[in-house]
């Protein structure tokens, strides 16, 4: 269930029940939204999605729009 308005391009963190009914979390950019699914992309080559997770709306437990930190220096990885 999604309580928050989301649109394509939002970066989100989603908690949902996966096919094995286990609690799964994912982060990425909302690439597509349909009545049943949202598609979260974790990796882009240019503008093309490379790695993604498709989540059914009914499996969603929580969804938050987030602002990930961009790393600009090697020291920020430590």
């Amino acid at each position: 269930m999604i309580n928050q308005d989301i649109k394509k391009g939002d970066t989100v963190m989603v908690e949902y029940k996966n096919n094995s009914k286990l609690l799964e979390k994912t982060v990425g950019v909302v690439y597509a939204i349909t009545d049943n699914y949202i598609l979260i992309v974790h990796n882009f080559s240019g503008f093309l999605p490379v790695d993604q997770t498709e989540i059914t709306r009914e499996s969603i437990i929580s969804l938050e729009i987030i602002l990930p930190t961009e790393i600009n220096k090697i020291e920020e990885l430590e």
Partner: protein, 188 residues
């Protein structure tokens, strides 16, 4: 109204702290490139910028782990990147326009390049190391930050054994960022 504004600000600060604690990062990086067509290679101007988002996992001076999915807080899928693949500055985009593409620079010397590649992982199979790769071919250009190898073939080294790679067949041009390279052997 003032109270509401104050509350919104507080919530926004709390959200920032929460996501900081979650350690969610966005990284920009480059990857090796393969060209099978001469014209495509000539048209090529700059490396594509890849963008990836995830939880920062283990990182060292050599590699960075970014996690895309977690099940019960255990990392399930993600990417392992060489630190040398990361883009930190705009200077990268200016400098990587200088890849020499003139046939006159082509020395035709045969080389073997050992390098370490990006790894995507899934199903909780988190690699400890980057993938070791070996590319052999004729050196076309090694100026700037990239090595261009013509008539190249690339194989993956797993447990010190050579294994097939999707680029195992001969590829017209392979461009490897020097920051990925461990060593180069000159055969001629």
């Amino acid at each position: 109204m003032k109270v509401l504004g104050h509350l919104t600000q507080k919530l926004s600060e709390m959200a920032k702290i929460y996501f900081f604690m979650e350690n969610i990062k966005a990284l920009k990086y480059i990857d090796a490139l393969y060209f099978e067509d001469e014209q495509e290679f000539k048209k090529f101007k700059t490396f594509s910028e890849h963008i990836t988002i995830g939880w920062l996992g283990k990182s060292s001076k050599e590699k960075v782990e970014l996690i895309f999915n977690k099940v019960d807080e255990k990392p399930k899928s993600g990417i392992l990147l060489p630190v040398g693949s990361l883009i930190f500055t705009d200077a990268f985009h200016r400098e990587n326009q200088n890849i020499k593409k003139e046939e006159k620079n082509f020395s035709k010397k045969t080389v073997g390049v050992y390098w370490r590649d990006i790894v995507f992982f899934d199903n909780f199979q988190i690699p400890n190391e980057l993938t070791d790769m070996y590319t052999e071919g004729e050196i076309f250009s090694d100026s700037g930050d990239f090595v261009v190898i013509k008539n190249s073939s690339t194989i993956k080294i797993v447990d010190k054994k050579l294994k097939g790679h999707h680029q195992e067949k001969e590829i017209l041009y392979c461009i490897i960022p020097k920051s990925f390279i461990c060593s180069i052997e000159y055969y001629d």
